[in-house]
């Protein structure tokens, strides 16, 4: 007999580990609309199975909670049951020995408060009012509602042009989105239940890469109606595209020399090459959309005069001014906002950071774009200064990793205090206050000062990337409802008391994403059409291939590769490599065709026109 033994996992344990992972994936792809009480019961059973069984409240109490929930679900519960549940849960929270017990009871207790209405509904109606949502998970999570299984099936057959046509029915920026869409569609992809979500964005990029030029469909018969669109970003241009297809004449007013908004003057070339952005914009212009470049509404022309001249006006001015830190020294030379900085780069203003130290404040996507751009401009040292931890950053994980890989210094738990300026008014650096993590409030971890002395971070350029504002004063003056900068359009994109004026995109929602801007454009396009007295619909005559019956065995997700860090940081060329055709076909075969298999074939499936 040996005194100690090394532990080797036995077979059952290995399988169980896999079960835990599968469970995680399964929960990840959970649809919304499920009954929260039924789900709570399922969680509770899992928790109960974890119990060591030593203590009474956990061993017995959790089981009793389970029976009570079951009764409620079966329509046999009463308000007394709820009261007893509450008493029991509190007992377990306050008497169980370890977290297995008290945290399980906590889940139920929180649910009793949060889903009170659902519980009562069950008791009164004998059942719940929940309804399965997200029949096709990816489509319902894509703000623009792109027919994802449809275009993936087309990619699978190598019909790239048709794939682009089908995407454009709901999104006229297939190439752009293939590069930089935040892909909310992938979050609950049902393929997660098998292995991992389908690389939906990658397949879109692949279709765009291989399709070549795809002309827009013909426009409907001219209606003679004229529409002015203020701002040529993705929301303005998408609305222009659909309205032009519906037979109206659109004129876009853009204050900058080129179209694209943040796509051109915000997102750096290495993420979205400008020539690829032009692929999308050229197709939109090919429908006959007219553009007035270099005209700023509010300065050169007023919104009132547009309203008089046109049958309808759409405001899509985005969120293009910067938010201020509000600390001293912010006016110093060398302090610049991220929006301004990235716009200058986008406008090809000569900038050289060679040998400089650059600090960027903020933990969002814009901040990542700023640091990685600064690196490409030759900076010696680039730091991100952030109040919280890396896990708290709002930027996409891939972006943070990309920045770190490119040599960015991440200085976390440092809150900006004041900017140090030399006697010539030039920036010297920034003082920051050290922080430590603190309580979790509403799922967000807060921080508090450690009490240590402030730290000085020297820098030649300080870029502030803490959010964007909307330049809506002119519109507010003209009577358009505005609240803390945001244009307050109704859900249909218009204003109840200003007929013929509509708004959408970042200027109405606050800074969001490209695909949300496009989604808003669809809404306003449909409602402007209706306002003008028409009922045009947008459809696509591409026939989606039938599902195949492949065996759906586990198959890894194809991720895209990137260019080597050593070379890519010296230029602004695209970082990400597209999939090869072979990779794309394999990836497309992973789609489970939720439009055909599952609830999608019954309700909430394909919408072939809007």
């Amino acid at each position: 007999m040996s005194r100690l033994e090394m532990s080797v996992p036995n077979n059952a344990q290995v399988v169980l580990e896999r079960l835990y992972r599968d469970l995680e994936h399964r929960i990840e792809s959970s649809t919304s609309g499920l009954c929260p009480i039924d789900m709570s019961k399922a969680f509770l059973e899992l928790c109960h199975a974890q119990s060591c069984g030593k203590c009474v409240p956990c061993r017995v109490g959790l089981g009793q909670l389970k029976y009570m929930i079951r009764d409620i679900l079966d329509g046999k519960g009463s308000l007394d049951t709820l009261a007893l549940m509450e008493k029991t849960a509190l007992n377990i929270i306050e008497t169980a020995d370890c977290a297995i017990g008290y945290e399980a009871a906590n889940i139920i207790h929180r649910g009793l408060i949060a889903f009170r209405q659902d519980y009562e509904e069950h008791i009164k109606q004998g059942g719940c009012t929940c309804q399965y949502e997200q029949a096709v998970p990816c489509v319902s999570l894509c703000p623009a509602g792109v027919d994802i299984p449809g275009y993936i099936a087309l990619v699978h057959e190598g019909r790239y042009q048709d794939a682009i046509r089908l995407i454009r029915k709901d999104n006229p920026f297939p190439t752009t989105c293939g590069f930089i869409c935040e892909h909310p569609c992938e979050a609950r992809c049902r393929r997660n239940m098998v292995d991992a979500s389908v690389n939906i964005r990658g397949l879109k990029r692949m279709a765009a890469d291989l399709a070549g030029e795809v002309l827009p469909p013909p426009c409907s018969e001219s209606t003679g109606k004229r529409i002015a669109i203020v701002g040529g970003g993705p929301s303005g241009l998408s609305a222009a595209y659909y309205l032009q297809l519906m037979g109206h004449q659109v004129v876009v007013y853009e204050m900058l020399p080129k179209l694209g908004g943040m796509l051109r003057y915000g997102i750096p070339n290495y993420r979205l090459p400008k020539n690829r952005l032009d692929d999308d914009i050229n197709v939109i212009l090919a429908t006959g959309v007219k553009v007035q470049y270099g005209v700023r509404i509010g300065k050169d022309v007023t919104i009132q005069s547009l309203r008089e001249e046109y049958d309808a006006v759409l405001i899509t001015i985005g969120a293009s001014s910067d938010k201020k830190l509000g600390i001293s020294g912010e006016e110093a030379e060398g302090v610049v906002s991220a929006v301004k900085f990235l716009r200058d780069v986008g406008e090809d203003v000569e900038l050289d950071f060679t040998g400089q130290e650059v600090a960027v404040i903020g933990g969002g996507n814009v901040s990542m774009d700023a640091v990685r751009t600064a690196i490409r401009l030759g900076a010696k040292k680039v730091s991100i200064v952030y109040r919280r931890r890396v896990t708290d950053m709002t930027a996409l994980k891939d972006e943070i990793e990309g920045a770190i890989a490119e040599g960015v210094e991440v200085q976390t738990l440092k809150a900006p205090k004041k900017i140090e300026v030399d006697e010539k008014g030039h920036l010297k650096g920034i003082w920051v206050t050290p922080q430590m993590v603190s309580k979790v409030e509403n799922l967000r971890t807060t921080v508090r000062p450690t009490g240590d002395e402030d730290v000085f971070i020297p820098c030649n350029t300080l870029i502030v990337a803490i959010g964007q504002d909307i330049e809506s004063e002119h519109f507010a003056e003209a009577g358009v409802p505005v609240k803390s900068g945001r244009i307050q359009a109704e859900k249909y994109g218009g204003f109840d008391y200003i007929p013929g004026v509509f708004a959408g995109g970042d200027c109405a929602t606050g800074p969001a994403s490209v695909v949300k801007a496009i989604a808003a454009a669809k809404v306003v396009a449909a409602n402007i059409d209706e306002y003008l007295g028409y009922n045009h619909s947008i459809s696509c005559d591409v026939k989606v291939p039938e599902n195949d019956f492949s065996n759906r065995t586990r198959l890894g997700r194809v991720s895209m590769t990137e260019r080597e860090v050593g070379t890519r940081i010296h230029d602004f060329d695209g970082v990400e490599n597209g999939m090869t055709e072979e990779e794309g076909k394999q990836e497309a075969s992973r789609c489970l065709r939720c439009d055909h298999f599952g609830y999608g074939v019954f309700k909430g499936g394909r919408e072939s026109l809007w």
Binding site: G127, C128, C130, Y132, E546, N547, S550, F602
Partner: protein
């Protein structure tokens, strides 16, 4: 064409065919429970699964399409084993109390379980029991529902009423009333299409046969029955009689043998309806009251309910004429009661209808002199008639043609076709022609309005009558009716006169007719009615001698004061 192999048979079928269709073309029947062509192709019951060579998972044949070179087995050991297990699972949640079930002997689940030789269910059985108002004309038994979702789809896609919906999530998913309300508040048209498309006994009409037996047994009651036109076209299907054998005369015989005191044919009051409604239309037309919106027919209570619930502002456009069922009831309790010297309260009026909505309609009240009650006391569907014939142990083969009773015996071919879509319009046009020109048209002059279940949307025709042109439309199915109304309201179309029947194909396809899962027999039954019409001795409602006498002796003329009192109604005045 697509070439493939099914159960070792080479098959060649058009592209886009489903596997089940391809198999059918080769004479191979694949069983299914939820599949309803074009209406419910959702692969929910999984009974129609087949094996495709080289694929691990079985696939449903109802909603998957064939491909070149496919090799399919519809009855391999794997398929057979899984199919049986599936049905066992269904049975674990199905209260298979067949002996007390209306669908016993005509049930897709019972048949399938028998075919698969399921003689015990290995699973624990648990049935869903939801409360239901047993007084409502439509009854749902949740313990028999197999969640095929057909009712949801029929009510939504065909009828556009959307009474049913999926409720609950996870293991508690079931079928309930949309919007979490009660059936009484759900605007159900009572067309009964969900009933005739339910594969099992989860949906049925309220059974009123016991009340009829009681009335027959009651010494002091004179029980008078009327039989709707569409019943003759379908009743024999459940009794093993061919279309030629199953005559109206034999229904009369059966009803007398059951014990009814007087037997009449609703064709009589269909003719009466034409006199009233036709005259009403001519009046409205001449007074330019159909310039904006048409006059709608009012013989179909399913349509009336739909109109009241979904388009209440159109109620004034409905003809004020009661339906033939109600008119007959009113005449029985007044003119007829008087003639045979019985007090109306001692008369029990029963009607045999192809329809469930008529059960709802019979709550319409009748006030006449001292009498306060209903035109019609009890309504039976065709299926209930057949159940009574069976209960009476009448051998259908011994039935002989018999005649209806005197006084209200006459009936025209025009009245017979009331049972098929387009029939009311055609019958009305025949008499409207006469009213306007004082001449009879060719009896078949208006055959252009003969629509069918297959007519997509609605049928329209411009009818020249003397110097005027009547724009007419005929529509069947409430989904189509909705589309027609929307087009009317948008000003895309204009009609003077519109016939609406709630059931696809008209009453011949009514919700009270015999059920044949997977078959739509409305068109065939309609043919029977048109054939009866063309052989009828009289073809015009206005030539019905008994109706003529009724006017002479009682009502004086169409739209007289008395006929307003007894034969017309304000559709706003009765509750759904």
């Amino acid at each position: 064409m697509v070439n493939l192999e099914i159960d070792n048979i080479k098959v060649s079928v058009p592209e886009e065919s489903t596997i089940i269709e391809a198999a059918e073309s080769a004479g191979i029947l694949i069983p299914s429970l939820c599949y309803l062509k074009e209406i419910n192709e959702i692969g929910a019951c999984r009974v129609c699964v087949v094996e495709i060579e080289g694929k691990d998972k079985l696939v449903t044949s109802c909603n998957n399409k064939v491909a070149n070179g496919m090799v399919i087995y519809t009855n391999s050991p794997k398929v057979r084993k899984h199919r049986k297990t599936i049905v066992e699972m269904i049975l674990s949640q199905h209260d298979s109390n067949c002996v007390t079930c209306v669908r016993c002997g005509n049930c897709s689940l019972q048949k399938l379980a028998n075919e698969l030789n399921i003689i015990n269910v290995p699973y624990e059985q648990e049935f869903e029991r939801r409360p239901w108002n047993k007084k409502f004309p439509l009854i749902r038994d949740s313990s028999k529902c197999i969640k095929c979702m057909r009712c949801i789809q029929v009510c939504d896609k065909v009828q556009s009423v959307k009474v049913w919906d999926v409720v609950g999530t996870g293991s508690r998913v079931s079928v309930g009333i949309s919007g979490n309300c009660k059936i009484e508040q759900a605007d159900c048209a009572l067309c009964g299409q969900c009933v005739t498309h339910c594969p099992v006994g989860a949906l049925r009409e309220r059974d009123d046969t016991e009340k009829v037996w009681n009335a027959i047994d009651a010494k002091d009651k004179v029980v008078v029955v009327q039989v709707a036109p569409a019943v003759r076209a379908a009743w024999g299907e459940e009794l093993g009689l061919s279309r030629e054998e199953a005559t109206m005369g034999k229904i009369v015989d059966a009803l007398r043998r059951i014990g009814f005191n007087y037997v009449f044919d609703t064709v009589f009051s269909a003719d009466l309806t034409i006199m009233e409604e036709g005259t009403e239309f001519v009046g409205r037309f001449k007074n330019n009251k159909t310039k904006k919106m048409p006059m709608f027919t009012s013989c179909c209570p399913g349509w009336i309910r739909f109109c009241k619930a979904k388009f209440p502002h159109l109620v004034p456009q409905l003809s004020t004429a009661k339906s033939p069922q109600q008119m007959f009831g009113a005449v029985m309790k007044t003119y007829f009661a008087n003639k045979i010297g019985v007090k109306p309260e001692n008369i029990c009026t029963v009607s045999i209808m192809p329809c469930i909505a008529k059960k709802g309609e019979s709550n319409m009240e009748l006030y006449f002199e001292e009498y306060a009650g209903h035109d019609v006391d009890l309504v039976l569907t065709t299926r209930e008639l057949n159940r009574m014939i069976k209960t009476a142990h009448i051998d259908p083969n011994t039935l002989k043609d018999a005649e209806c009773d005197e006084l209200m015996k006459d009936g025209s071919g025009a009245g017979v076709i009331f049972g098929a879509t387009g029939g009311v319009m055609e019958a009305a046009l025949r008499s409207v022609y006469f009213l306007i020109t004082k001449k009879n048209p060719e009896p078949d002059a208006f055959r252009i309005v003969r629509s069918s279940r297959e007519t997509k949307g609605w049928l329209s025709a411009e009818i020249d009558i003397g110097v005027i042109t009547v724009k007419a439309a005929v529509v069947n199915g409430l989904g189509n009716a909705r589309k027609l109304i929307e087009a009317l309201e948008k000003g895309e179309v204009h009609y003077d006169f519109v016939e609406v029947m709630a059931c696809p194909g008209g009453c011949v396809g009514g919700g009270g007719q015999p059920i044949h899962d997977g078959e739509e027999l409305a068109a065939l039954r309609g043919k029977t009615l048109y054939c009866l019409d063309s052989n009828a001795p009289i073809r015009f409602s206005h030539e019905n001698q008994d109706v003529g006498r009724l006017y002479k002796e009682y009502f004086e003329a169409p739209l007289s004061k008395k006929s307003h009192l007894l034969l017309h109604t304000n559709h706003n005045n009765w509750d759904m």
